[in-house]
């Protein structure tokens, strides 16, 4: 469908920024108060899906098309795996140890406080967000009813 009426498009354009900001908030303070990588990532995916529904496939592709979202998804997963392997490069640090916390323990209750936990939250947030968006675009682009319209 070529997107919805004008009202929905302008409102969607407006709200998109706030939703992504809210998702980032949930991700970044995941280790301080409830929330975390998964929830924030899914909220960011909802923002992009809202754009896709409001403006139809073509406009949404300019922002985040299938290949870019797939590669971002992968970069998130590789970053998470890298954080896990960090211990291999240092002597005697086992796999998946919280290395950053051992060497640079931040001051409690601050954003940069719990070693590699906020970074892992960020990695999962990127991965979940872009991954679910690419599933949704895959589902909708596959839909022949979708293709006849645009």
């Amino acid at each position: 469908m070529m997107g919805m009426t004008e009202i929905v498009k302008t409102v969607a354009e407006w709200i998109k920024g706030f939703i992504i900001f809210y998702g980032l908030y949930i991700i970044l303070q995941g280790h301080l108060s409830p929330g975390g990588g998964f929830a924030g990532g899914v909220i960011i995916a909802c923002a992009f899906i809202m754009i896709e529904l409001a403006f139809g496939g073509k406009r949404a592709e300019t922002e985040l098309d299938e290949h870019k979202s797939h590669n971002l998804d992968e970069i998130g997963a590789l970053f998470f795996l890298f954080l896990g392997i960090l211990g291999y490069f240092l002597p005697q640090i086992p796999f998946f140890a919280n290395v950053i916390q051992l060497y640079w323990p931040g001051s409690p209750f601050h954003i940069l406080s719990a070693g590699s936990i906020p970074l892992m939250n960020l990695a999962i947030g990127i991965k979940v967000g872009t991954g679910l968006y690419s599933v949704f675009t895959g589902l909708s682009h596959y839909d022949p009813l979708y293709q006849e319209e645009n």
């Binding site: 949930i26 995941g30 280790h31 301080l32 108060s33 409830p34 929330g35 975390g36 998964f38 929830a39 899914v42 909220i43 995916a45 909802c46 899906i49 797939h70 998804d73 992968e74 997963a77 998470f80 795996l81 896990g84 796999f95 998946f96 919280n98 916390q101 323990p105 931040g106 409690p108 209750f109 406080s113 719990a114 070693g115 590699s116 936990i117 892992m120 939250n121 999962i124 991965k127 979940v128 991954g131 679910l132 690419s134 599933v135 949704f136 895959g138 589902l139 909708s140 682009h141 596959y142 839909d143 022949p144 009813l145």
Partner: protein, 184 residues
């Protein structure tokens, strides 16, 4: 007080489940699933698990959107004869009821609702609660568990999501099939 609210929401979920099984229209069945999922996230909130409530609501919205994408424009109205069950439902109902009756007496051996089992041992949960903040520096014990103490689980879980997305995209290849002639 919380136990009564949880009990009420659980009854709402069971009634909703019966509603989903018996309704004819697909779209309203999907919407009912969303309602049950939101009821579940309120239960999580009442049971003291805010992390789970946020994730459950967000996951419910995504699966609702994906399922509606699948059911829209497609034979919404289930024909009358189709809704008959593929195999006579009576024997399955009987054996499920039997299974439930067999399990019921064992329920009394579960920990009483309200006094969880981690209190009667020096279990790792007590260790996490006491030393978790000192070791990892993360006030939110649950993200300390899933990312630091049991980070290996979350690596596996992130890969589960990645494989399911990769699998779904590799099944939905209708689009690039048109470009290059694919399998014979």
């Amino acid at each position: 007080m919380i136990e009564i609210a949880v009990l009420f929401l659980l009854l709402f979920m069971i009634v909703g489940m019966l509603f989903v099984l018996e309704i004819e229209n697909l779209l309203s069945a999907v919407v009912m699933m969303g309602a049950i999922g939101f009821g579940l996230s309120v239960i999580f909130l009442l049971l003291g698990a805010p992390d789970l409530a946020i994730v459950q609501i967000a996951v419910e919205v995504i699966s609702l959107v994906i399922l509606i994408r699948a059911t829209i424009h497609r034979d919404i109205k289930e024909k009358a004869d189709e809704s008959l069950s593929q195999v006579s439902a009576i024997p399955i109902l009987v054996c499920l009821l039997l299974f439930f009756l067999l399990i019921y007496p064992a329920m009394s051996f579960l920990p009483v609702f309200g006094s969880p089992v981690f209190m009667n041992y020096y279990s790792s949960s007590i260790y996490y609660l006491q030393e978790g903040f000192k070791i990892t520096g993360a006030p939110n014990i649950i993200s300390a568990i899933i990312l630091d103490f049991r980070g290996y689980d979350t690596l596996g879980e992130a890969i589960v999501l990645f494989t399911s997305i990769l699998g779904a995209l590799s099944i939905l290849r209708y689009r690039n099939k048109k470009k290059e002639p694919s399998e014979s």
